[in-house]
């Protein structure tokens, strides 16, 4: 009922008629006033969530950020130009040369389709926008929608107060902002909305037992599957939740209806996404959901038999036989399925979540990505701030008022918290849960405190009627009659709480502005006099490629830059950020870590015309190719054993100065990065060839290139492009 009222209120407030006269305003009933305040704050939160994410546009400009978003942008552009069917059947020959990539079948189309639809809608409404602006603002728009979902979710699991607080918290939570600022046009931007929405609808379905909500949650799941690979989290968390409910004796008809409808329909819908295909029935990651589905049928069946059989003794023995039989059949089926190869084993990414040391030992391509690193406590603090302190309190409150919904949020919070500890990027998934649970803590505490303040002088009966259902309010109220300082104490606590919350707001704004709004394709630094210096070398280099190289030129670089080169430079690349072919990446890694003649052979076999390296020695930019080089060696060595990591290290240490390993000083990457750098004075009082990113004087200043020649170096030397010379005339 409250939800409906809020929706109506939202409609009426958005049209915003002329404000009623003051007197009439005060004549509103208490309930109406409350509704007005609630809707107004939600609207403000909605705007706030959008506005805070515009820092990146203010500080830089309206552009696409980072690496993956460039691919998404390129595909969206293709989608709007050529239509959906062309997009679905697109074979991209510009990446992964000479293999190419089937785009339609290897991506999650949700994001691109969403942006294209918004674009169409705006065009239809005669707003003349460029598709890039739509892409830039998609993530903030969905973040705003997430706050609304968070409100309803909070309302579902606790009360509308908790919902409001949750919406406010998630609007500015840095853990979420980090991936949804304007310009970060990535799958996660819409996926977190879809994730929370699916969860909300499912919890609603479990609470009401209504088929309509379950159907809605299946469609929410479908949207999530179409948007992000993280849907695996949903398809494992929901069965786990159902299992916990079963185990703790909370099985109900509502649960049965909700799960069955959501699972079956969600599965059928998800199969429509080509990239996912039949994985729901074939891959080991999805088997838990299927197992729980069958278990639920067994439960229902047992319930039915219990109803039919009146004899308790008979039922017990029946129960024993059925369960043993069902479990052994299930185990057998799983065993046979896995052994015969019908059910595929877990993928590396999934496995590395369960056994975190796995990726480090076995899959360097996963371990090499910085966002896949495990999380240190300071990152948690940075991304959640005071929410971390409130989280245990919220957990405690949830346990004190256990219901199907609070069990869900507790499980969501804990599993995502564990995963966030394993990989930094998964803090994003944990953010909504942390906000919701902390909101419960805040809301419950503040409610108690304010009711304490209000009851001063009033009869205690009024308090319990105030709607605070928990024990403590009445307990406190009964105690406070003899307490002269209770009132002051409560005010002091309330002030403390508001102080903490304001610190949270300050922290979030600051973090968003300083840390999370950088597009990382344009770099900013503080100059010697405190002014901002902008390095726009990436775009300089990509536009150079676009203007000065033949249209069919092939560019070799480390995979990080593949998407950007194809999207902005419009040239063919050997490898890119879609790391689907490890051997191909390892070949590039091998070329980079070999001596020039061997590297030349590899480059010839790949038809490479240009080599692009990123170098930060002049500017002090530390995430350049020299710092990534060990990963190239590792990944290359994983496929080609001729590349050995110890050859590039000295006593286990990675160095580029005079004491560096000889192989290091003469490999292709070193030569390309430091070519003619030895003649350069970078810092006053330091010798020539002083590398500012690593703080050493380089070891090989006299670099001669035999098979390549320098083609272009950007103004701050961040990107260096070399042309591969044609083969020598043999006559």
């Amino acid at each position: 009922m409250g939800a409906k009222a809020a929706e109506n209120g939202a409609k009426s407030s958005s049209s915003a008629p002329s404000p009623p006269p003051l007197k009439a305003f005060f004549r509103l009933k208490t309930k109406q006033q409350e509704l007005l305040i609630r809707v107004a704050s939600l609207a403000l939160i909605y705007v706030l969530a959008f506005a805070v994410r515009l820092f990146s546009v203010l500080r830089y400009e309206s552009m696409i950020h980072e690496f993956d978003p460039y691919f998404n942008y390129r595909t969206t552009l293709f989608l709007t130009r050529n239509g959906f069917y062309e997009f679905w059947n697109w074979f991209d020959s510009e990446s992964w040369y000479p293999l190419g990539r089937i785009i339609g079948g290897t991506l999650y189309p949700g994001l691109m389709v969403t942006a294209a639809l918004i674009y169409r809608l705006l065009r239809f409404l005669t707003f003349a926008v460029h598709i890039r602006e739509v892409c830039v603002l998609t993530a903030p728009f969905f973040a705003s929608n997430t706050t609304i979902v968070a409100y309803f979710f909070g309302k579902e699991i606790w009360d509308s107060g908790a919902g409001l607080v949750a919406a406010a918290l998630i609007a500015i939570c840095p853990g979420y902002i980090s991936r949804s600022v304007a310009g970060s046009y990535d799958n996660e931007g819409v996926a977190i909305f879809a994730l929370l929405f699916t969860f909300y609808l499912f919890v609603k379905a479990v609470n009401t037992g209504s088929l309509a909500w379950a159907l809605a949650s299946a469609f929410g799941y479908f949207y999530m599957v179409s948007a992000w690979g993280g849907y695996v989290f949903i398809i494992n968390l929901i069965p786990l939740y159902v299992l916990v409910l079963l185990v703790t004796g909370r099985y109900s008809m509502r649960l049965y209806v909700a799960y069955n409808c959501m699972y079956i329909l969600g599965m059928l819908l998800a199969m429509q996404i080509r990239f996912v295909g039949f994985q729901h029935v074939q891959s080991g990651e999805h088997m838990a959901a299927m197992g729980v589905f069958f278990l639920l049928q067994v439960f229902y069946f047992l319930d039915w038999v219990k109803y039919m059989l009146n004899d308790k003794q008979l039922f017990q023995s029946f129960l024993r036989i059925t369960l043993t039989f069902a479990i052994s059949v299930g185990a057998l089926a799983l065993g046979i399925g896995t052994a015969s190869g019908y059910i595929s084993p877990w993928t590396g990414r999934f496995y590395s979540l369960l056994d975190p040391t796995y990726a480090k030992d076995h899959i360097p391509i996963i371990a090499s990505v910085s966002e896949h690193q495990p999380t240190a406590w300071s990152s948690f603090m940075f991304d959640f701030h005071i929410l971390l302190f409130l989280f245990p309190a919220g957990l405690y409150f949830c346990f004190k008022r256990l219901s199907d919904a609070t069990i869900f949020i507790v499980m969501y919070g804990l599993t995502s918290m564990y995963f966030a500890g394993v990989m930094v990027r998964l803090i994003l998934v944990a953010a909504p849960a942390v906000c919701l649970i902390s909101a419960i803590a805040i809301s419950a505490t503040v409610k108690n405190l304010t009711s304490l303040i209000r009851t001063k002088g009033k009869a205690p009966l009024a308090v319990s009627g105030k709607g605070s259902s928990s024990l403590k309010a009445s307990a406190k109220a009964s105690a406070d009659q003899s307490l002269p300082f209770q009132h002051n104490c409560a005010i002091a606590l309330l002030v403390g709480a508001f102080y903490l919350l304001s610190r949270y707001a300050i922290h979030c704004t600051w973090v968003t502005s300083e840390a999370y709004s950088s597009p990382s394709i344009v770099l900013a630094a503080r100059g010697a006099h405190g002014g901002r210096v902008i390095f726009d070398d990436y775009r300089e280099a990509y536009y150079w490629l676009r203007q000065n190289t033949p249209a069919d030129a092939k560019v070799m670089s480390w995979w990080d830059y593949g998407y950007q080169i194809t999207a902005m430079g419009n040239r063919t690349v050997i490898v890119d950020n879609n790391t689907w072919n490890n051997t191909h990446i390892a070949t590039v890694g091998r070329a980079m870590s070999s001596y020039e003649p061997e590297a030349y052979e590899i480059m010839q076999s790949l038809d490479v015309d240009y080599v692009l390296v990123v170098f930060g020695g002049l500017t002090g930019y530390s995430s350049d190719d020299i710092n990534k080089f060990l990963w190239m060696v590792r990944i290359g060595g994983g496929v080609f054993p001729v590349i050995k990591e110890p050859d590039y290290l000295v006593n286990g240490e990675y160095r580029v100065d005079k004491g560096a390993a000889p192989k290091m000083l003469n490999c292709l990457m070193y030569k390309l990065a430091y070519y003619r750098f030895g003649e350069m004075t970078t810092e006053y009082g330091k010798p020539t060839g002083y590398d500012r990113a690593r703080g050493v004087e380089i070891g090989n200043k006299d670099i001669k290139l035999e098979y390549l020649e320098e083609a272009f170096t950007t103004s701050n030397w961040i990107i260096r492009i070399y042309k591969v010379k044609p083969p020598k005339n043999r006559w």
Binding site: Q373, P374, A376, S379, L388, F391, P392, L414, M417, A479
Partner: protein
């Protein structure tokens, strides 16, 4: 920089002379024994140890290495161990030694009856009982692994294994062996399974048998898992586990504390720099997080049940102070660690 290096060079020169003299003295005695006898002796020594690692002391070192003329019919891979340092966690001596034994056992398993079993032997030397041998090899620090190829005359010229090469376990030791001694392991390292097949079968049977009984109790709703407190403490534990960065410590094998380089008596508990953390540091912070949250929960749910007003008030005050202290501590530490100084944005006219 210059002097120590020169001193080392001098020492080396002297010791090479000594070794040469020793060799000259001993070759006379050793010439009588045939090479096959030595190999047989080594083999019998090897069969005495379950993993095939031969324990050498000063006497055996001189018998098999210094007093035998080159080329010897075998190479030795020697692990230098020190009992007194085994308790130092950062050296990981017990772990490395067990990896070394694994290498030896795997080698024996892959080469049951072929000729290469008599080409290489795996040995270990203990510092306290064989200090002379340590001098002979010029080994001054452990962990240390050396390969003595068949043709090496002076023990100091034997090939040391790099820190990076043995720190990655038996696999990298095998790589070293293959690249330096040209002896291939002939297969993968055979690690013993964590749970043996019999245990697995037993567990499986136990689960299958007990399942119906357990499920019946679950349906009745009376087990440990229906206890809310258990779930709650588990939940809090998972939270603690997550936020204290335990995963980070497990994956990166971080130690609890680091010794201070400039002052060895002091320990470093907190590491400055945002991407990294030490074990104790994470736990301390996780504990602080927990304290505040739990204080809040207790204030709301437990303290109000106390009868005595002054006790309530006292606990309330303590709780407030505790929470204030913990929050300010964490924020201070976070600012110190990440180097960010957070400030609010205000209009310019306010200044």
């Amino acid at each position: 920089m210059e002097t120590p290096r020169r001193r080392v060079a001098e020492e080396m020169a002297i010791s090479i002379q000594i070794a040469a003299v020793l060799l000259l003295l001993m070759t006379g005695g050793a010439a009588g024994r045939s090479a096959d006898d030595l190999v047989e002796e080594l083999k019998s020594l090897r069969s005495q140890s379950p993993s095939g690692v031969i324990h050498l002391d000063d006497r055996l070192v001189s018998r098999f290495l210094t007093s035998v003329g080159t080329p010897r019919p075998y190479s030795l891979l020697i692990f230098f161990d020190a009992n007194q340092l085994r308790s130092k966690a950062e050296l990981r001596l017990p772990h490395l030694h067990s990896e070394f034994s694994l290498l030896s056992a795997s080698f024996a398993a892959h080469h049951k009856d072929d000729a290469s079993t008599s080409r290489i032997f795996f040995c270990d030397v203990e510092f306290e009982e064989s200090q002379q041998s340590f001098d002979l090899f010029g080994v001054s620090s452990v962990p240390h692994v050396r390969l003595v190829p068949a043709s090496t005359r002076s023990l100091r010229n034997s090939i040391p294994m790099d820190q990076s090469e043995f720190s990655r376990g038996a696999e990298s030791m095998a790589e070293f062996l293959e690249s330096k001694a040209k002896i291939s392991l002939g297969g993968a390292i055979l690690r013993p399974p964590r749970v043996s097949l019999r245990q697995v079968l037993f567990l499986l049977a136990a689960i299958l048998i007990s399942a119906p009984f357990l499920i019946r109790r679950i349906l009745d709703g009376d087990t440990l898992i229906h206890d809310q407190r258990l779930w709650m403490s588990l939940a809090l534990f998972v939270y603690f586990f997550g936020v204290s960065g335990t995963m980070h410590n497990i994956i990166h094998n971080m130690p609890m504390v680091l010794p201070d380089r400039s002052n060895p008596d002091r320990l470093i508990f907190f590491y400055q720099g945002s991407g990294m953390q030490l074990g104790a540091e994470g736990f301390a912070i996780g504990f602080l997080y927990m304290v505040v949250g739990l204080v809040l929960a207790f204030v709301a749910h437990l303290f109000v049940r106390f009868r005595s007003i002054s006790a309530q008030r006292g606990f309330m005050l303590v709780g407030m102070l505790l929470a204030y202290w913990a929050v300010s501590k964490v924020i201070y530490l976070d600012n110190w660690k990440t180097g960010y100084s957070i400030h609010s944005f205000r209009p310019k006219s306010w200044w």
